[in-house]
């Protein structure tokens, strides 16, 4: 039987606020345990939560970027359950009145574009509706990139800044009712999300094909074995006994607050910039993706392109030569900007374009700039790397080469025009590699065909 897969993701994202959401303690990963604590986050008797406004700012940012409808009034709720790491015996969350609802995110998966709906955002989670593990992977990584783009999270999965739970159900094609869903936990990388879902779909397909039922349960993904295991069944499922958190007032978000946050968003999202690079500048999708890996990278590209007067050339240089140097040297975009300001790189690209130096010489100049911090024109001048583009000088060299190769000239005249390459090589050799190859080509052709 063929089945249709329905996947929902619940993405938990740690906001980049300096202090925790309900107390003044810092939120630095890697500090020794129990150093950033106070009576409030320890849930000591008599302590009360106080909402951090910056956390709300960030949540509004995410909501605006994902085109969600931000509610003027939302309510924090207590989610009650016992757990050793849950000091109060409940988690402050949002339940039936979340901060924002009804957004979407566009993704590309398997060559197709899909708009994935977002049911809701509250202070810590989003949920979407997807049809394949590949889409889930694409959605999760697109969402991560977006949240990093707008500066609300560092998106670091090793440190747990971003987590994801997924639920998946199958239904026979054509059936309207959803099948029983299983919830998957412990999906702490993009690859695991996809692999766990693939495994789970295989498992459910086998069960259904054998006429068995899928149990409603929570399953844990084991990445070593690439399998999912039962964590708890529905009978053990929690009744979280949600109720409005009486220690916090309803969260009121006025229009002014939303507008204030809107002003702090980047002028253009990376996904928009990427789109623009492909359509307006004709860049390859892969190159455009590389150049929009972050806002500073895209800014760097655009500044370089302006200085070079050529977007395509700037794109090729950055995604090729420059990126290779960054990987080699192990430095990031911030360091790159100080070592090789975009104006300097743009200047170099312009010199290659106008033929002052050849492409391969340009790479040498780039090395030198990165090493010495010199200006490209200065490097070219001081090291005599400039190409010979003086037609008189080149014609002189060409005459010498032609005179020294009578046999080749005769063969060329007899129709073996591929010998042009031989002559070009000889002229370049004679000029110590500094001759402008395009110019040599043209002048030689004129001379030989005469």
């Amino acid at each position: 039987m063929t089945y249709e897969t329905i996947i929902g993701l619940e993405v938990h994202c740690q906001l980049l606020t300096a202090s925790k959401i309900f107390c003044g303690c810092r939120t630095r990963f890697g500090d020794p345990p129990n150093t950033n604590v106070c009576p409030i986050c320890l849930g000591m008797p008599g302590s009360l939560p106080v909402l951090n406004r910056t956390a709300v700012d960030y949540a509004i940012r995410a909501a605006l970027t994902l085109d969600c409808d931000i509610r003027p009034r939302s309510i924090f709720a207590r989610k009650n359950y016992f757990y050793p790491d849950l000091p109060k015996g409940y988690q402050i969350s949002m339940y039936d009145q979340p901060l924002a609802v009804g957004g979407h995110l566009d993704i590309e998966a398997g060559g197709a574009r899909r708009r994935i709906g977002i049911t809701r955002i509250h202070m810590e989670e989003d949920a979407g509706d997807l049809r394949s593990p590949e889409e889930a992977h694409a959605y999760y990584s697109a969402l991560r990139n977006l949240l990093v783009d707008i500066g609300v999270t560092d998106g670091n999965m090793e440190e747990g800044s971003l987590r994801c739970d997924a639920n998946v159900s199958l239904r026979p094609k054509g059936q309207a009712a959803f099948g029983t869903k299983a919830e998957l936990k412990n999906l702490n990388s993009f690859r695991f999300v996809q692999k766990a879902l693939e495994y789970e779909i295989r498992r459910q397909t086998q069960l259904l094909d054998a006429g068995q039922r899928v149990a409603q349960e929570t399953r844990l993904y084991d990445s070593e074995e690439d399998k999912t295991y039962t964590m708890r069944s529905k009978e053990e499922a929690h009744d979280y006994r949600y109720f409005p958190e009486p220690d916090l007032l309803p969260l009121l978000v006025e229009k002014e607050w939303i507008e204030e946050v809107r002003k702090s968003l980047p002028a253009k999202l990376l996904s928009q910039r990427r789109e623009e690079y492909i359509t307006a500048y004709g860049l390859l999708a892969q190159v455009a993706t590389t150049l929009t890996s972050s806002q500073p990278m895209a800014d760097y590209f655009e500044a370089t392109a302006t200085a070079a007067g050529d977007h395509k050339a700037a794109a090729n240089w950055i995604s090729g030569e420059v990126l290779a140097r960054m990987k080699e040297g192990g430095f990031d975009i911030v360091v790159l900007k100080s070592k090789l300001p975009p104006e300097r790189l743009g200047g170099l690209i312009a010199r290659v374009k106008d033929g002052t130096v050849s492409g391969s010489t340009g790479k040498e100049v780039l090395e030198t700039i990165l090493r010495t911090g010199q200006d490209p024109d200065e490097v070219i001048r001081s090291s005599g790397l400039a190409q010979v583009s003086d037609e008189g000088a080149l014609e002189e060299a060409i005459e010498k080469v032609v005179a020294a190769s009578p046999g080749q000239l005769a063969q060329y005249k007899a129709g073996k025009t591929t010998l042009l390459g031989y002559f070009v090589g000889q002229v370049l050799k004679a000029t110590g590699g500094k001759a402008n190859p395009a110019l040599v080509n043209r002048l030689l052709k004129e001379r030989l065909d005469r």
Binding site: P39, P45, V50, N80, F82, D239, R241, F243, P246
Partner: protein
């Protein structure tokens, strides 16, 4: 010379400021009184003798060095054991917190200290403030100073009894459904539950977060006003504390009751009301009329739903608030648990008393899926109706006056096995918490058996100033201040 165990805060502060008596002497006098009577009354969980004397000493030093003295300089104050006091045990009357020592002060306690008060002890209470007699304390039963065979009321029974017995001039209690006003009435002292949000709840160990409020007991209405002045006001650590400015409570006290419109809600004078209670409250109303107030009957039609509504909302919140006592971080930890689930179960089973367990179960039930709409949600709706009853009434009148309790102090053990009868002793007080209003009990007479009777004065939101004004006028008219419990001097 003034007997410090009967002096008012103003008199005590005058003694300190003028140098006629040192804060240390005043502290010692109250400690002496406590030693003399508390083995019978059992108002205190812990008497902080050494610490209190050090604090009194600091006040005396400040005076000698001519540094400014706070409005409560050298005044001993007792604090209910549900309010966190830095460095001293805060048990909440429970085994589960028997050894819990917070490293922070509740905001209201910190404000008392800043005002120069001397925290003299922590008072006994029903476990986690759940009860109306102090019999639910895991440690001891506090006795009513007027009749040691009777309860002082609860849950702030220790604070009320300590003030009534002359062991301390003022005390803090907390009130979730009547826990200040009911013991105040039964012990014959003034006690005020402020508007919800008037006093910070930071450091008040939560029973029911949307109802809990700390407030003062005093020897006089003016003393209550003085304490409220110090503890009231917004606290950034409590999001539900109100930003409204705090008026000058003391300055308004002399303005009297003349011209005020007083409402008498007919639902609070049911047919079966104790005749002596009825008579005393009517006498108070007559006094108010003589002093120039007008009396009108009003109706609060949803009053009959108050007790069930209260027990749904309060227990729901309690079931969640008390989840943190699991033996992991502080307080009691049961020995010999093989795993974490067993640790939780054994700790909570051993640490909580019967009434607390009953309420946790009730609260868990009303929040459970399938029952939430029928109980919790409906309870919230009725709460809104009750609040509207009061809003409607306060469009017509300035204050309401009712009995504080349906009867005077009952005997120890009388209702302990009948939870419902116990719950009904809060029948006139819980509505005020549900509506978030200020309410105060003042003594208005004695029964033939010599037991105090309390009248409850209810004001509109943030109307503590009017409530206190009327209370001061009635206090003068009722002449109760010369009556003292029959304890040895």
């Amino acid at each position: 010379m003034t007997d410090p165990s009967r002096a008012t805060i103003a008199e005590l502060r005058d003694l300190v400021v003028s140098g006629r008596m040192s804060a240390s002497e005043i502290c010692k006098a109250h400690l002496g009184r406590t030693r003399a009577v508390d083995d019978r009354v059992k108002a205190y969980r812990s008497v902080l003798e050494r610490q209190a004397l050090a604090e009194a000493d600091a006040v005396d030093r400040a005076r000698r060095e001519s540094r400014p003295l706070g409005p409560l300089a050298g005044v001993p104050i007792a604090v209910k054991d549900v309010l966190c006091t830095q460095g001293t045990p805060t048990t909440c009357g429970s085994r589960i917190l028997e050894n819990f020592v917070p490293y922070y002060d509740a905001t209201c306690v910190a404000r008392l200290r800043e005002a120069g008060a001397v925290i003299i002890g922590k008072t006994n209470m029903d476990e986690f403030a759940m009860g109306s007699s102090t019999e639910n304390s895991a440690f001891e039963v506090t006795r009513n100073p007027w009749d040691l065979t009777r309860v002082p009321g609860g849950s702030s029974g220790g604070s009320a009894a300590a003030v009534a017995a002359g062991m301390v001039p003022a005390a803090l209690g907390t009130d979730t459904g009547g826990s200040i006003r009911q013991p105040a009435a039964l012990c014959g002292v003034p006690g005020l539950k402020p508007t919800y949000g008037r006093v910070s709840r930071y450091g008040l160990v939560a029973f029911a977060s949307s109802l809990d409020q700390a407030g003062p007991f005093g020897r006089t209405v003016a003393d209550v006003a003085r304490i409220l002045q110090v503890i009231a006001g917004h606290d950034p650590l409590d999001s539900t504390s109100a930003p409204e400015p705090v008026p000058d409570y003391l300055g308004g006290l002399e303005r009297g009751i003349a011209g005020l419109r007083i409402g008498v809600p007919k639902e609070y004078f049911p047919a079966g009301l104790d005749a002596e209670v009825h008579g005393s409250v009517r006498a108070a109303l007559a006094a108010a009329e003589r002093l120039g107030a007008s009396i009108d009957e009003v109706s609060l039609p949803h009053t009959e739903y108050a007790i069930p509504t209260y027990y749904i909302i309060a227990t729901a919140e309690a079931s969640s608030n008390l989840a943190r006592y699991d033996g992991v971080r502080y307080g009691l930890r049961a020995a010999g648990a093989p795993d974490i689930a067993q640790l939780f179960r054994k700790t909570r089973n051993a640490g909580f008393g019967a009434e607390v367990k009953r309420r946790i179960m009730l609260g868990t039930y009303v929040l459970s899926s399938g029952y939430y709409d029928a109980y919790y949600l409906k309870g919230q709706k009725v709460r809104t109706l009750i609040r509207r009853d009061f809003e409607d009434a306060f469009r017509r009148v300035d204050l309401l006056i009712t009995p504080t309790t349906p009867s005077a102090a009952f005997r120890i053990g009388e209702k302990v096995d009948d939870p419902l009868a116990m719950y009904l002793s809060d029948i006139f007080t819980v509505t005020i918490n549900l509506a978030g209003l200020p309410g105060m009990s003042i003594p208005c007479g004695l029964t033939r058996d010599g037991l105090p009777i309390g009248a409850q004065i209810i004001g509109p939101r943030f109307g503590e100033d009017v409530v206190l004004r009327a209370a001061a006028a009635l206090e003068g008219a009722m002449q109760f201040r010369d009556r003292h419990p029959p304890l040895p001097r």
